[in-house]
């Protein structure tokens, strides 16, 4: 085994993750390799230093409110979805009603009616184009069926 192979064992040795046989083999290598022994010593110091860093535990009230905050998010998310769907449907319905009324109105000029129809056609083309692009990329997405 080369020093590079022993480097893989070094981390496991440091973290006490080796079985007896591996540990003995690694210690044997350490005894004959001052470079690895020095590196291990440095890593041991670093590990000790990193282990000394602990993080502040938040106040109890944070944990008491935690589930309520999660649930409120879930509930509000559902609320926003329903609100958005309803708003879109109502806007489309209202829009069509308004357009129908304008087109049937004899007092409204032809130019305005043509502009309105062009606006609707433009929106429809944009919508179909975006939808087609999304479907195209969705079909090509290699990760779409990945489930963990």
């Amino acid at each position: 085994m080369t020093c590079q192979d022993y480097k893989d064992l070094m981390m496991a040795y440091l973290d006490n993750e080796l079985d007896n046989q591996q540990r003995l083999a690694f210690e044997e290598h350490l005894a004959s390799c001052p470079t690895c022994a020095k590196e291990l010593k440095e890593f041991e110091k670093l590990k000790h230093l990193t282990d000394s860093v602990t993080l502040v535990e938040p106040e109890d009230r944070i944990w008491e409110q935690y589930w309520n905050n999660v649930y409120n998010r879930v509930e509000r998310g559902l609320g926003w979805i329903l609100f958005s769907v309803a708003a879109i449907l109502l806007t489309i319905y209202g829009g069509f009603e308004l357009i129908e009324e304008i087109i049937r109105d004899q007092t409204v000029g032809t130019l305005l009616k043509v502009a309105l129809l062009a606006l609707i056609a433009g929106l429809a083309i944009l919508y179909v184009s975006v939808l087609r692009e999304r479907v195209y990329f969705w079909k090509k997405d290699r990760y779409k069926d990945v489930r963990r």
Binding site: D8, M11, E42, L49, L55, V74
Partner: protein, 200 residues
Amino acid sequence: MDSFCEDETIAMWGCHSSSKEMFEAIVKKHMKDAYFIALGLVGNHEDALELSQEAFCRAYRNIKQLSSEGKFFPWFYQILRNLCFSHLRKRKVRQASSLDGFEQDKIEAEVHHNFDPEVVAERNEYKDRVWKAIGRLDDKHREVIILRHFQNLSYEEISKILFCNRGTVTSRLYYARKRLKEILDREGPHPAGTQKGGQH
């Protein structure tokens, strides 16, 4: 901390119906782990709290994707880490645009400035430096350091929640620690004395 890789399958929780009570029990069991992992990944209390709660919220909406034999925490961990990494990317982009024309180093420094030493318990100069140095690691390197040192996970457990093999964990830890040592050495002597000639 109990071993969250050995935790109950969704079938055992009996909550494939996304029942509120069952999910509440899951959240209460894992909220501290989720918060501290997020804290390790993003570096400050407010973001960690926000992101860990958002991760639970997404898990609740998508729990049907998890097979009944699937273990909750490794699956949830993927949601949490993706949220945290995506948050960091957005933060980087935001700061890059606000520092338009500045060099990359400055952007990096701003991003890692968010590794707030206020969250370190029993602070001292060296602990603050280690925490900030952890913040300067690449996402993947920081992740293994957090899981190993702050969550006290075994290599086996880390490999399960990262969906990789033990060798990858070992190698990632080696390069993460090496990089951490380099950052600390570059910033001056520290009590680990890893810097050549650096003594304290």
